[in-house]
């Protein structure tokens, strides 16, 4: 059985992300990192593939910048990496993305499980995950906190999902698509032997015609990026003779500001 996971390079979470004068998103000369949520899905793909005696492949959809995330994944111990790219592919359109992703999973072949990190940290979105499951026509299990059992012979998966204020244990038929939470595992750091292999690896690029897909017209339109409005912070120290009096004044002010 093959396990597939997706990743992408995102600006380091400590980088200062801004929209420049030309309307482009920039983050200075800060490094890119593996989408932090994907560290967990990558780790889980390695562990689960090993458990079922299968192979784990990581895929990124996008420009060459994403090779960095793929190499990091290989250094962690993924068996293979592929990048999907063709001019005209609009990765900001999640349906475009999902169409390409589903086709790539089918091309890998014999895939029993697709694992995603909970979301992309840069765009803050996760709909591409559900759209990929829909395109594949596979069961979707989101917010998985633990894989309790992956049974390759009987083609089932048993997971624990996090719900608001509780948890849920589910069994589903394979193939399936899952998204995993932080805390499902402790992602490993790349080993030096892994780094040596990864640095020499040639990452194949699959084009849309390799995948045999033609994309639908983009269903969303990107109008432009803009910086967040600067928030003005006014600090006020509340005076009062006793803590009681200070607290009362504070409550009054909060009511006035309609915070409470």
């Amino acid at each position: 059985m093959h396990i597939v996971t997706f990743t992408r390079s995102t600006p380091d979470t400590t980088a200062k992300v801004e929209v420049n004068g030309k309307g482009e998103v920039t983050w200075g000369d800060a490094a890119t990192v593996v989408n932090p949520w994907d560290e967990y899905s990558l780790e889980e793909a390695i562990v689960q593939a090993k458990n079922v005696g299968g192979k784990a492949t990581v895929i990124a959809i996008g420009t060459e910048m994403h090779n960095e995330a793929l190499k990091h994944s290989l250094a962690m111990g993924l068996d293979a990496a592929v990048r999907v790219w063709s001019d005209g592919l609009d990765v900001t359109d999640s349906l475009h993305w999902a169409t390409a992703a589903a086709a790539a999973v089918n091309k890998v072949g014999d895939v029993g499980l697709v694992i995603f990190g909970k979301e992309s940290v840069d765009t803050g979105t996760d709909q591409h995950i559900y759209q990929t499951a829909r395109k594949l026509g596979w069961t979707m299990l989101s917010y998985v906190a633990k894989i309790l059992e992956l049974d390759a012979a009987n083609k089932t998966i048993k997971v624990e999902k996090v719900l608001e204020g509780g948890k849920q244990v589910l069994t589903a038929k394979l193939p399936a698509v899952i998204s995993v939470m932080k805390g499902i595992n402790e992602p490993r750091y790349p080993s030096f032997i892994g780094i040596r292999k990864a640095s020499k690896a040639e990452i194949p690029v699959w084009s849309l015609s390799d995948l045999g897909v033609t994309l639908p017209a983009a269903s969303t339109q990107l109008v432009g990026y803009s910086n967040l409005p600067v928030q003005e912070v006014v600090t006020e120290i509340i005076d009062g003779a006793t803590p009681q009096e200070k607290a009362e004044k504070l409550v009054e002010k909060l009511l006035e500001a309609k915070v409470l």
């Binding site: 490094a31 190499k71 990091h72 250094a75 490993r188 750091y189 790349p190 080993s191 030096f192 032997i193 780094i195 040596r196 990864a198 640095s199 020499k200």
Partner: protein, 396 residues
């Protein structure tokens, strides 16, 4: 790169592999070591969890070939990784440097195939911890005057070892030790031999952990031998090779200590630059004052000079691999300059922080204490100057 008279290519390339390694080690060091460094400095406990994680990445046998459990990388990879670890915490880098350059390196250079399999593999892969024991209470710089003894038993099967070794880094936790002791006192330094010691065997007693000024999380202790029976097959090299082995291993070790010193200096320097930009006095950032600027300029210049002397020593070690020409001089110069730079930079960086630099709220005072060891171990600054000058003068 420095001009050399030997036919060494003057090129050192930081490859994609080196860059990936650097990023991985930096990420690990900042996330896993920085948050715990202060706690372990305070308690003086051995940071076994993080050391095991480092081993899992391959940090305990960087230059050891893969077939012996290592990462199979070069000396530049070792230097880059060690600097990054030292930047997060000097204690971790001390433990790492002993395992790599003093322990594994010595056996890789002088061990037999069986010895490499048995003694290097578990340490390079991080299952076991290694140590190097040359110093004794009455012999440090003058290592050849040691008092401990190894005597071959009548059956010729075992050396019986007696004596007291001091200042053994990782002594309290080490599984294996490369030990230097006297087999023939009449021959002076040529009477010293090297042995591979299982530290969990009877006849070996670990002394109390030394309370120290700095690198407090790297455990250091005495090791006492009382009729310790060492099988003859655990002799490293030949009888009488010990001093030669000890010294050539120190060449590699000194590049490591230089890298450690560089890491400590860089950590202090980066904090100083940030503080000089932020801290206000007399209505402006203190970085505006010429006297602070002078410190920044001098710190940066010395740090880069140290880095280049280290790169120069890396080149010389690569030359050694090709030609066998020793790199003692280059290693000594790098160690001398980098360790004195670490002292200078941690002092000035602390000064730039004023009272905050003296406080345990910030890591500056720890950097200052940690830097101090780099001028002492693996040959004091005085000994490095002696080595360099004798080499230049042709005097022994």
């Amino acid at each position: 790169m420095a001009v050399q008279t030997s036919h060494t290519p003057l090129m050192l390339t930081i490859t994609e592999e080196h860059e990936m390694l650097l990023n991985a080690v930096r990420d690990f060091a900042q996330k896993e070591i920085v948050p715990i460094a202060e706690k372990f400095d305070e308690s003086g406990d051995f940071p076994m969890d993080t050391i095991k994680k480092m081993a899992g990445m391959g940090l305990m046998g960087i230059e050891v070939p893969e077939e012996y459990g290592g990462a199979g990388m070069d000396v530049l990879a070792y230097v880059l990784a060690l600097t990054e670890i030292a930047k997060a915490d000097a204690s971790h880098s001390t433990i790492m440097s002993v395992n790599n350059s003093l322990y594994c390196n010595g056996i890789m250079l002088f061990g037999t195939e069986e010895q490499k399999q048995k003694w290097v593999k578990p340490v390079a892969s991080g299952e076991k911890i290694g140590a190097y024991s040359l110093t004794e209470p009455m012999s440090g710089s003058d290592a050849a005057t040691m008092a401990s003894r190894a005597v071959l038993n009548a059956a010729g099967t075992h050396y019986i070892i007696n004596g007291r070794k001091s200042w053994v880094t990782s002594g309290p936790v080490a599984d294996y030790i490369v030990l230097f002791t006297m087999t023939d006192p009449s021959k002076g330094s040529k009477g010293i031999s090297a042995f591979l010691i299982d530290a969990n065997q009877k006849g070996l007693i670990r002394g109390k952990k030394e309370p120290k000024l700095g690198i407090r999380a790297s455990a250091t202790s005495e090791i006492i031998f009382e009729d310790y029976e060492c099988p003859v097959e655990n002799l490293l090299g030949k009888e009488g090779d010990g001093f030669k082995i000890a010294m050539s291993v120190l060449d590699a070790g000194r590049i490591g200590i230089a890298a450690q010193a560089l890491g400590i200096a860089e950590a202090a320097y980066e904090k100083a630059v940030a503080y000089a930009r932020e801290r206000q006095a007399f209505g402006q950032a203190i970085g505006q004052f010429q006297m602070i600027q002078q410190k920044i300029a001098d710190m940066k210049t010395r740090i880069e000079a140290a880095r280049h002397l280290i790169y120069n020593a890396c080149l010389a070690k690569m030359r050694y691999k090709a030609t066998g020409a020793r790199y003692t001089l280059e290693a000594s110069m790098a160690k001398l300059f980098a360790s004195e730079t670490a002292m200078f930079v941690t002092d000035e960086a602390l000064q730039i922080h004023g009272g905050m630099g003296y406080s345990k709220e910030m890591p500056l005072e720890r950097y200052y204490r940690d830097a101090r060891i780099t001028r002492i171990y693996e040959g004091t600054s005085e000994i490095q100057r002696m080595v360099i000058a004798r080499n230049e003068l042709g005097m022994r």
